[in-house]
């Protein structure tokens, strides 16, 4: 009997028992008092909760559809919370890891003005990482745990940062293409359904515009500079164009999370739509400074009023995501070293606070 009972309650996806034989068995069993008791408890707790959840879920979807903003304490499906934590965590990690390729050139910036700009930009990225970690923490996850996942290689971040920065021109091209792509993405995310995420995005978008502009300024300066500088910047565009297109993720049909994220208005535009928008924005900018984008199939399509472009090398894309990009190991190593070397500092500050009881109530 217990087995039957367990079988019934394990069948959690069904609210009601449809199977005739099971119904009959239950009918008989309901005469047994202790079974009756258990069964009603089961109906009350499991089925009752399920129905309640179902009601909440449809109410939730109604709120999303009517454009309401979801706040941390509001009821939300567990899936929504998990998807947000995954996506916002990845986004935060991307900013944090994304500091490294550019920080690589701060000490070699060719003028004081450029040094100041680059330093301010990389520092902004730390700030953006922080806004995003802070927004993710409103979902009941600790930054410490998010960082741990990053350091253990369990969390993803934008694969663009696994490419090396090999010349000063990369500082321009990253600002122009990588931040440019990020802005296309983030402008849409600023309207996402989760309040803390969208507010962080609004702030970030405001600041990112400076990043893109300074990048394009470097690109334009190099493009009209000496022959060596021109060569430097074209080489950089050749290296970063395709990885920048990859930043929008796989094609819609191969993007496992897209449909759900769009239904919940966490994402509002599909990967392919955003990628197209980016290409359409960027081609004229490249032409304006006389740079060639490394895609022979790039051609204006009059009917679509959009640029057709070639297929991304998806093998490379998945390979870099899997950890085999040129700089994956170095990036994680740098983050780990900073974390481990900083442990004694964090502990010291904590010990000081405890000694001086300045955190009495915390």
């Amino acid at each position: 009997m217990i087995i039957v009972f367990l079988k019934v309650i394990n069948n959690k996806d069904r609210f009601f028992i449809n199977n005739k034989i099971e119904k009959q068995i239950i009918g008989i069993l309901l005469d047994v008092d202790w079974f009756k008791l258990l069964y009603y408890i089961y109906l009350e707790i499991i089925v009752g909760d399920k129905m309640e959840d179902e009601k909440k879920l449809s109410e939730f979807q109604r709120r999303i559809n009517s454009g309401e903003v979801i706040e941390p304490k509001d009821w939300m499906p567990e899936r929504y919370r998990k998807q947000l934590i995954r996506m916002m965590g990845q986004h935060a990690h991307s900013e944090y890891v994304g500091m490294l390729p550019e920080a690589n050139w701060i000490t070699r910036a060719p003028s004081l003005r450029r040094k100041l700009i680059l330093l301010a930009k990389v520092q902004d990225e730390a700030g953006h990482g922080l806004y995003l970690y802070s927004a993710t923490e409103t979902l009941g996850v600790d930054r410490k745990d998010l960082l741990e996942q990053l350091l253990e290689g369990k969390a993803k971040y934008s694969s663009i940062f696994n490419y090396p920065t090999l010349s000063w021109a990369d500082m321009g091209v990253i600002g122009w293409l990588v931040d440019g792509a990020a802005i296309v993405n983030q402008t849409v995310l600023a309207k996402s359904s989760y309040g803390p995420y969208s507010r962080a995005m609004v702030r970030i978008c405001k600041e990112e515009n400076f990043h893109k502009k300074q990048g394009y300024e470097i690109v334009a300066t190099l493009a009209k500079g000496t022959p060596e500088q021109k060569k430097m910047v074209q080489d950089s565009v050749n290296r970063f164009w395709w990885p920048a297109l990859m930043m929008f993720g796989p094609h819609d049909k191969e993007s496992p999370n897209s449909a759900e994220l769009m239904r919940w208005k966490v994402k509002l535009k599909s990967n392919d739509e955003l990628r197209q928008r980016f290409v359409d924005l960027t081609v004229p900018q490249a032409r304006a400074v006389g740079l060639t984008l490394p895609d022979p199939e790039l051609k204006y399509n009059k009917e679509r009023r959009s640029w057709d472009f070639g297929e991304i090398n998806w093998d490379e894309f998945y390979n870099v995501i899997k950890g085999n990009g040129p700089m994956n190991k170095e990036r994680i190593k740098a983050r780990k070293e900073a974390h481990e070397n900083g442990a004694w500092v964090r502990e010291a500050a904590e010990a000081y606070a405890a000694k001086h009881k300045i955190n009495r109530k915390i």
Binding site: E71, K73, D74, W75, A120, Q123, D124, G127, L130, Y131, S134, A135, E137, D142, R143, K144, E148, A200, E207, A343, R346, A349, E350, Y352, A353, H356, I358, N359, K361, I362
Partner: protein, 97 residues
Amino acid sequence: MSEKNKDSQWPLWEVFVQSEQGGPHIHAGSVHAPDPEMALQNARDVYSRRNEAISLWVVPSVSITATMPSDQGPFFDPASDKIYRHPQFYHVPKGLK
């Protein structure tokens, strides 16, 4: 794993920024910090890199008590029918400022 478990994190502080004299302090986000002084310094660097603040508050996140979404009805609806609290409720002769 024991190494990692040892690594606790600094407490969380909510940051409120006043951006102009006489204006309200508005919630900007949060920072981690070991104590109030460091929380202020971190808040300054994170939320006022572009001169956004003339004054900052930091409050331990755990010290904030907030209403729950389920409170929405009983807490706030009763105020919505007291239209006499709003100036629009009153009729005054036209042209009067």
